[in-house]
Structures are given as structure tokens and as C-alpha cells.
Symmetry: C2
Subunit: 206 residues, 2 copies
Amino acid sequence: MEKKLTRKEREKQRRRFDILEAAEIIFAEKGFDRTTVEDIAAHSEFAVGTLYNLFSGKEQLYNSLIEIRSKQMSAEVNAVLDKTKGPLEMVRAYVNAKIKLFTKYQYFVCLYSRERLGDRFINHDLWRETIAPLYNGVLSRLVDAIRAGVSQGIFRNDIDPEDIVIALEGLTDGFVYAWLENPDTFPFEEKEQSMIDFFISGALAK
Amino acid sequence: MEKKLTRKEREKQRRRFDILEAAEIIFAEKGFDRTTVEDIAAHSEFAVGTLYNLFSGKEQLYNSLIEIRSKQMSAEVNAVLDKTKGPLEMVRAYVNAKIKLFTKYQYFVCLYSRERLGDRFINHDLWRETIAPLYNGVLSRLVDAIRAGVSQGIFRNDIDPEDIVIALEGLTDGFVYAWLENPDTFPFEEKEQSMIDFFISGALAK
DNA sequence: ATATATTATGAATTATCATTCATTATAAGC
DNA sequence: GCTTATAATGAATGATAATTCATAATATAT
């Protein structure tokens, strides 16, 4: 029950989408507050007024973007996780997918990382009701996997599985930040092995 | 050659400092752009005009704050690292100090984390010339320690020491983020052991 | 081809703030 | 206490940027 759109409607969606893509790049570069609607208009090659025909305002435009991308990314991660069999394999697949998806959605990752602590995220309905559940959904699959791995004797049992996931997420984000601060020179894609090795057995020599 | 200030000068410094402390809380809460000068004035119990007698503008006020706090924090971390003897001890001390200092300077940590990817940081002289060197100074002490540890056979030699430091920094920041997103309920101070255990030997069971 | 409906446009309007500065209050010197 | 210097004040100014809307352009229907 999706395809019930007229051609007009589809064209409208396409225009919307084009604007969101242009906006994404500017938001990633300058953040929400320093991005002007005129900026977005110029880059999407529409007039300001046209943006207001297609979105009810700057904030709503931004929210649409966040919502679409969050859904895309979480769907793609979940699809990857679905295919894994054991806990350790899931972690490996997660790290691999994170690198691939973050590279694919670089602009969104950048704007998200920039604003995740801001009140546009933390205090917003969209965040609480839509984005956070998606994100937590992924995280709790990881927690479950770690927990299962603990039962099976794969993962250590002296650290809370939730903490292990925080560590995994933080550790990988460390590389993400290093990359975002230096997108052109930091070889993010090559760090998969370092991340997994470190996750598996830490820093100490054997 | 410091104490050459008249009482007037000292009082001026004190007023400046009080304003910076009020500003810090608001900047941490709302970020630079959504913080108004009137906000800062109201919270510091001065009039707007008075802020402009003491600082040349909003940006300069913000920069003073960043500079002061960065110097304080890096001085305190360095003092801790100075006292350590072996590489592993340095890592332990670093994690411990990070928890203590981040708790002590919570507001600053919050505003810094919020804006570290913004262009106010990345493209600014203050950042490039003052803050980044301080931060990199600490990080390179850690890299040196890891490198020494590798020679001594303490740390593994199959991950680049720089990557190990990125992992350490990311891993600990993971807990910082979890805490900043939920300052009242996440028991950040209790996570020292998890962080260190994970750093030392990763997630796998022995 | 003409009339009608839909969509795009950007100049004008409005709102929000940073900054200034003429005025008032406070402190210092005599 | 009176005069002068120093500091504080907040209403007025100016700049920037979100939003609106009357008009122009384009598409659709007849």
C-alpha cells in the first residue's frame, strides 16, 4: 500500500528529496544555526519561497532529513545484523557495516555527530519518539549478542554487557572522530582490523 | 612576574571570571549560537553593557572561556601524568584523571564535546594555535608511553600506537557521552574499572 | 488556443540578537 | 561634602536571517 502516488506527488517528493540532499551537505558543514535558508535555496537551485512550499520551515526540513537518514541507516545496519550467526560474528559485521555506512552517509554522520548533544536532539519529540528508539534498537541487539556471548563463554563476564557495548561504540567512534576531523587524510576504511583486534583483546601484549 | 595587579585590576578580573562561569553553564546547555548575550547578562547579574566593558564581544568572551579551561585542564592532566612511572601506570592514571577532571569541569566538557566538530573550533586561530597543541601534547605523551610499552613488551605490537591511543580516547569518550546524555542517572565515576579492564584485555573471555 | 490551476519566485516584512552609547550610579581623591 | 573619574546600565541601533505573499511562470484541461 505504498505506490498510490500520482505523478505530481512523485515529482513533489523528488523535489523535496533534492532539497534535502543539498541541505544535508550544508548542515554538515556549518551546523543548523549557521546554515541559512538562502544557502539551502541557492545550493538546491530553488528560490526561498519554493522551499517554503515544500517544507513548513527550516526546522521541519531539518527534521525530515534526520528522520529519513536515521531510518535508512538503521534499516541497513539491521539488515546486516540479521545475517549474522554468532555473537562475535555480529560484532565483526557491525564494525564493518559501521565503516561502510558511515562512509556512505558521511554528511549525515557529520551533522549527527555535531549535534547529538545539542538540545535540538535531546529535547525533541522527533528524537525521543523516532530516532532514539531506532538507535537503541541497534544497540540493544548488540547488548543481547554480548550477553549471549557471555553465556557461551565467548565474552568475559566481569564487565557489564552494556558497558562492553558502550566501549565498542566509543572505540569505533574514536576512529570516526579522527576521520571527521581530517576527512581527507585519515584512512578510516583501513582501521577495521585495529578496531576489531582492540575490541577482542585490548592493548596488552599476549 | 605575575602579582603586579592593583586592587582595581584584581576586581576586574574577578568580575570577568564570574561572567565566564555564568556563561559556561549557558553555553554548555544551549551551545554558542543559541546562547544570547542577554542570557549571559541575566545569569551573571550584570547588564549587557557591562559585559561589553569587560569583553570585546560574545565571541571573545567565549574564546577566553575555552582558553582558560583548556589550559587548566591540560595543566592538571599533565601534572598527573608527570607523576607516573611506567606506561601502564600512565594509562591507568590518565583514565582516573579523565573521570575526575571531566566531572570537575562538567560544563566545559559538555560545551567542548558539543562544538569540537564545529567550525568555531576547527577553523579558528585559537584552536589551531592554542587549544590543539595542548590537546595534542597530552595525546602524544600517551602515544609515547604506548610506544615505550611496546618496546618493553607490555603492549601489543600489531596495532599502531597511535591507533591504540585513538581507541583509548574513544573508548573513554564513549562513557563520557553516555554520561553527558544522561548526567543524572549514568554512574560515570563508577566506570573506571570497566574502562581500564577493557583497555587492557578487550572483550573476549580468557 | 484559451482559460484555469498549480508551482516558483524573490522582494518586502518581521523577528531575533549583537553591539553601541548617552545617561545614571558608584567610588576615589581632596 | 563636593568634584572628578570609573563603572554600570539598558534602551536604541543595525545586521542578519526566517518567513510571507503578491506576482510571474508553467503546466493542465477543455
